[in-house]
């Protein structure tokens, strides 16, 4: 367990030194602070627009960070040959993947908290907003596990593209299933299969439900969180399995 946290700690340190993190954070803060401008577009509905725009920025920049940092995690180690230093140590290979995931999760937690602090300078904090941001963070973790999965056997660019496509597909899986209800039997089964085996990112996007006043229960939220955690475990297990069997050339 100590080795896992050692990898996580190192990943965290490495990530916060990355310039790309600072660049993305700078723009995130800039766009968040520009949210009041969005409010001016609609007299009388300013607060709503600032809230929507701020949450959207928080989510979008979180996605950027996850994809940019996550896709380079394993690749950098291989490219700089530092992976051999890690492999030489007495730690299971899967710990490298899980450790990196934990390290970057901590980075994402810090950046989400930082962006939320900026956001709450503009909007009065409520439990609903905190809940929404919590689920945004959960969707970022899920995406991170997908990025790590692709990152173990693809180049950073390819894994970024694949992860983004996966994210988009996960966002429309629900609509696809609804659409499939009017299709042939084969189409119906196909869209149902896609619904069950693609991460349901649209359900994690609570801002569409909560801010619109759609009633929800704690049980609804538990099922959604559980879905995210199960997918997260699947992707991390798959990433670990691939990474364990991967052969590295000197």
């Amino acid at each position: 367990m100590n080795t896992l946290f050692a990898v996580a700690k190192n990943t965290f340190r490495e990530a916060i030194r990355d310039r790309i993190l600072l660049v993305i954070l700078f723009f995130a803060a800039l766009f968040l602070l520009a949210a009041p401008l969005a409010g001016k577009l609609s007299p009388g509905q300013g607060v709503r627009l600032v809230t929507d725009f701020g949450l959207a920025m928080l989510h979008i920049f979180g996605l950027f960070l996850t994809v940019f940092l996550g896709s380079r995690l394993v690749f950098h180690e291989i490219e700089r040959k530092t992976i051999f230093l890690l492999l030489a140590k007495p730690l299971p290979r899967s710990h490298i993947i899980w450790g990196k995931f934990l390290g970057l999760s901590a980075v994402l937690l810090c950046t989400t908290a930082l962006c939320s602090a900026v956001f709450f300078l503009l909007v009065t904090p409520t439990w609903s907003l905190v809940l929404i941001i919590g689920f945004i963070y959960l969707s970022l973790l899920l995406l991170l596990s997908i990025v790590l999965f692709f990152g173990t056997w693809m180049s950073p660019l390819l894994s970024s593209v694949a992860s983004i496509l996966f994210f988009l597909a996960g966002n429309i899986s629900f609509s696809l299933r609804l659409f499939g209800e009017n299709m042939s039997v084969a189409g119906k089964y196909m869209t149902e299969f896609l619904y069950y085996f693609l991460p349901n990112f649209s359900s994690l996007n609570l801002k569409n439900f909560v801010l619109s006043g759609i009633p929800y229960t704690a049980l609804n939220l538990i099922w959604i969180a559980l879905m995210a955690i199960i997918f997260l475990i699947i992707f991390l297990l798959a990433a670990s399995a691939i990474f364990t069997r991967k052969e590295f050339e000197q």
Partner: protein, 296 residues
Amino acid sequence: MKKILIWSLVAILLGISLWQVQGKIFPWQETYFRTAKSQDFLLENGKDLKKIVFGFENFAADLLWLQTLQYVGGNALSVSFPALAKYLNVITDIDPNFAYAYHFGGLLLPFEKKYQDAVTLLEKGARNLPQEWQFSYDLGFIRFYYLDDSEGAIAAYERCSENLNCPPGAARMAATLRAKSGKVESAFQNLLEQLDYAKAEEIPFLLKKTEEIGKLLVLQEITQVLPPRESIAELMGKKVPEEPKILALIALLEKLLGEKLVDGNGRILPELTKNPFAENPYIWEREEKIIRPQSW
């Protein structure tokens, strides 16, 4: 072997859990989807929005267009689209060349009796896309039919008729409206202008209309000078007053038609009573002091 078994078991367990969990989420999401009502459209105009779409104006307009179609579809049963004008205004602010949005508004907004919104949108369309004659044509119709604004309708039909693709009906409508509103001289001038750029197939009709309106004009001018009569037929065979304006009009009409309207003694030829007035007798409106066909 043992490892494979364990992993298979884990995979099956995770698969079943997913099946269960996703199955629980779906009904809630579906309820939200089925019961969700269209919310108010918050933007008043798209001018500011245009600044922040970073060059993706067409794309942003397309997305809003899809939302508009969903909005209209969602309210189709109640036939009530209170936010439609706002949607279309924002779309056409972001992408002023979105021709279909103007057409759509011109067609649907009058259904909701939002005539002024329809007029504003179509005016914007005619301004942004002058090559699209349909906007002026629709505008003329809405102004004339719903708003009872003959002046506005005339202007719209005349603007439409300046476009070569505009149906001849627009020019006819403009001239007829002018004549109907007592502005026979304007109608006559308008027809003369149209003859300058009319297509070959439109010329016979325009000539016929010019003849009709021209004769009406001459008769009207004459009746302004002569004492009021019960019937315009009484004017036939009478001497044309030596009014320079009337003489000029008769000369112009004779040149245009290539036939004599006045005999050697300065009298209006009686044939005029037979054709075309005989088919469509004109009457003298004593109160308004104008001549009009009985069918009007």
